[in-house]
C-alpha cells in the first residue's frame, strides 16, 4: 500500500526512474517548483558567459544517445540491451526531470512514431488505448466519449493544451505522477495495463501497477504498449470529476473521480470512486461503493462513507497542501463527484 514519500526511497528499485532519481520526494517537489533556478541554483543554472555567443552552448540535460527504433520489436531489443535506457514518447514528464538532472538516462528510445502503438479500439469488452496515443487525440475521441466517459471527462484537466498536444497516455501512466488524472481514472475503473518485455506480452492490473510516486511495477526493460479500460454496459451511466489546484490545469492537490450506473428506478447499480493526488498513488475507495450500491444515493450517506474510507489513509504533505487539507479536500471532492455522477446518470435516458 502507499508509503509516505520518505519511506519510498528505501523501497526496492523496480523502475528506471527510481535508479536515476535519487530522491523521489525531491523529484516531486522540484516538479512542482515554478522557478527551478532559484530553488537549485548551483546544480541547474547555466554555466559560462552568456553574453558571448557560444559554438557549443551549455545545455540543461546530461548528454545521452538518442535512438528512434522502427518498431516495437526493435525498441524492446534496445531496452533489453540495458545501458540505462529509457523510453520517451511525448516527453512531457521526462524532459523536465532531465532538465533538472533528476533523470540522467544514457540512452533515449523514442517510440513516438511507432504507428502500431497509437490507437483506440474495442477489445475484450473494453476499450484499448495505445501507449503513444496523444492526450489531445483522446480528448476528442468519439469512442472514448461514448464508452469510457470518465476518461473523456478528465482529459481537459490533463496539463494544458500545449502539454496534451505532445503528451501521451502511456507516458502519463508510466511516469506515475500521484496527481495524474489518467492514472486516477485507470485505478478507479480498474483498467488493465499491457506491456512488452523482449518478445513476451504481459498484463498487470491498475491496482497493482502504481507502487509510489513515480514508481510502477513495470519492469525496467519493459515497454508499456496499451491500457484497456472496462466498458460499462449499463444504460444509465453518469460521471463526475473534481480537482483543486493552485492554477488552471496545474498539478492537483486533491482530485476525485466517480462513475455511477443507475437502474430505471434511480437505484445505484454500480459505483466506481477514486481519489488522486492525495496519497502516493491513486486510490480506489471500494468501501464507499459497497455502502452506496443498491441504494438511492443520499449525499449524507455518501459523505459518511467517504470520510470513513479516508480516515486511515496517509496523505502526501508538502509546501502547497498539508496532509490534513488533502484529506478534507479529497472527501469534499469525492462527495461532489458522486453527486455529479448521479445527477448525470439520472439525466441519461434509459435506452
Amino acid at each position: 500500500m502507499p508509503q509516505p514519500i520518505a519511506g519510498v526511497t528505501d523501497a526496492k528499485p523496480s523502475k528506471p526512474i527510481h535508479e536515476v532519481v535519487g530522491d523521489l520526494g525531491e523529484a516531486l517537489a522540484l516538479l512542482r517548483t515554478r522557478f527551478v533556478r532559484d530553488a537549485k541554483p548551483a546544480a541547474l543554472s547555466r554555466t559560462g558567459d552568456l553574453s558571448q555567443p557560444s559554438s557549443s552552448p551549455s545545455m540543461k540535460p546530461a548528454p545521452f544517445e538518442y535512438a528512434r527504433p522502427a518498431d516495437l520489436d526493435q525498441a524492446c531489443a534496445m531496452l533489453a540491451a540495458g545501458d540505462d535506457a529509457r523510453i520517451i514518447a511525448g516527453g512531457q514528464t521526462l524532459v523536465p526531470l532531465m532538465a533538472m538532472r533528476l533523470a540522467r538516462p544514457k540512452r533515449l528510445i523514442d517510440i513516438a512514431r511507432i504507428g502500431d502503438l497509437a490507437f483506440v479500439r474495442h477489445e475484450r469488452e473494453g476499450i484499448a488505448i495505445g501507449a503513444t496515443t496523444r492526450q489531445c487525440v483522446l480528448e476528442r475521441d468519439a469512442v472514448v466519449r461514448a464508452a469510457v466517459p470518465l476518461l473523456a471527462k478528465v482529459m481537459p484537466f490533463v496539463g494544458h493544451a500545449a502539454i496534451r498536444s505532445r503528451g501521451t497516455v502511456g507516458g502519463s501512466l508510466a511516469n506515475a505522477d500521484p496527481a495524474a488524472e489518467i492514472a486516477l481514472v485507470a485505478v478507479t475503473l480498474g483498467a488493465t495495463f499491457i506491456y512488452r518485455q523482449g518478445a513476451a506480452s504481459a498484463e498487470v492490473a491498475a491496482s497493482d501497477f502504481f507502487i509510489g510516486p513515480m514508481m510502477t511495477a513495470l519492469p525496467a526493460t519493459a515497454c508499456l504498449t496499451a491500457v484497456r479500460f472496462p466498458r460499462w454496459g449499463d444504460a444509465r451511466i453518469g460521471v463526475g470529476f473534481h480537482e483543486v489546484s493552485a492554477r488552471r490545469s496545474d498539478f492537483a492537490f486533491a482530485a476525485a473521480a466517480a462513475q455511477v450506473a443507475l437502474d430505471g428506478d434511480g437505484v445505484c447499480r454500480r459505483l466506481a470512486l477514486g481519489v488522486g493526488a492525495v496519497t502516493a498513488c491513486p486510490m480506489r475507495l471500494d468501501t464507499v461503493a459497497k455502502a452506496l450500491e443498491g441504494t438511492r444515493v443520499e449525499p449524507a450517506v455518501a459523505r459518511a462513507a467517504v470520510r470513513a474510507a479516508l480516515a486511515d489513509i496517509e496523505p502526501l504533505c508538502d509546501l502547497h497542501a498539508s496532509a490534513d487539507y488533502r484529506r478534507r479536500a479529497a472527501a469534499s471532492l469525492a462527495v461532489r463527484a458522486i453527486t455529479d455522477a448521479c445527477r448525470a446518470a439520472e439525466a441519461a435516458h434509459a435506452r
Binding site: M59, Y66, R68, I88, V95, P96, A99, L108, C136, A162
Partner: protein
C-alpha cells in the same frame, strides 16, 4: 545528429546534439529568437511554438524529436515582411502586452485557438492562455486582443454588407 525541421514553411537542416532542446535549436542555431526561454521546464509557456499547427512547449522537446515536423514560430505568422497578422495587430491595438516577454507565445497560442475555434467565448480564451504565464499580469488586455482578433478574422473574406 542531423535534423531536418520545416520551420515557417522552409526546410532547415541542422546538426544538433541529442540533448539540445527544440527551443535552444530555434534560438541558437536558427537565430529565431522570438521563442523565449522562461522556466525551461514546461511551466511558464514562454517557449510555445506550433508543431503541425498545435501549440507545444519547445523547451519540453528535444530538437531530434521534432525531426520532419512543421514548426511555426512567431517569425512565421506575419503575412509579409513588415506586416502583422490580425492577431498581432489586435495585440498592438488593445495593448495586449507590457514587457512583451510572454507575447510571442501568447500570440501563437491565440493563433492555434482561433484556427480551431473561430468564435471563442471569453472562457475559451482564458482556458487557452492559462498555459501562458504573464508576470506583468496584463491578462485583461490579452483576452481583449484575442477577442478582437477573432471578430476581425471572422469578418475577413465575408461579402460586404449592403447598407
Amino acid at each position: 545528429m542531423r535534423v531536418e525541421l520545416i520551420v515557417n514553411g522552409e526546410m532547415r537542416a541542422v546538426e544538433v546534439e541529442p540533448r539540445m532542446s527544440l527551443l535552444d535549436c530555434l534560438r541558437e542555431r536558427l537565430l529565431l529568437t522570438g521563442a523565449h526561454a522562461g522556466c525551461e521546464h514546461g511551466v511558464c509557456g514562454a517557449c510555445t511554438v506550433l508543431i503541425d499547427g498545435a501549440p507545444a512547449r519547445s523547451c519540453l522537446m528535444f530538437a531530434v524529436q521534432a525531426d520532419g515536423y512543421a514548426i511555426t514560430t512567431i517569425e512565421g505568422v506575419t503575412p509579409g515582411p513588415g506586416e502583422l497578422s490580425p492577431i498581432q495587430d489586435a495585440f498592438c491595438e488593445t495593448h495586449g502586452m507590457q514587457c512583451g516577454y510572454c507575447t510571442p507565445a501568447m500570440i501563437l497560442t491565440a493563433h492555434a485557438l482561433l484556427a480551431d475555434n473561430p468564435d471563442p467565448t471569453r472562457a475559451d480564451i482564458v482556458d487557452a492562455i492559462s498555459a501562458n504565464i504573464c508576470r506583468c499580469t496584463g491578462y485583461a488586455q490579452i483576452v481583449e486582443a484575442i477577442a478582437l482578433a477573432a471578430v476581425r478574422i471572422r469578418g475577413l473574406n465575408q461579402p460586404a454588407r449592403k447598407p
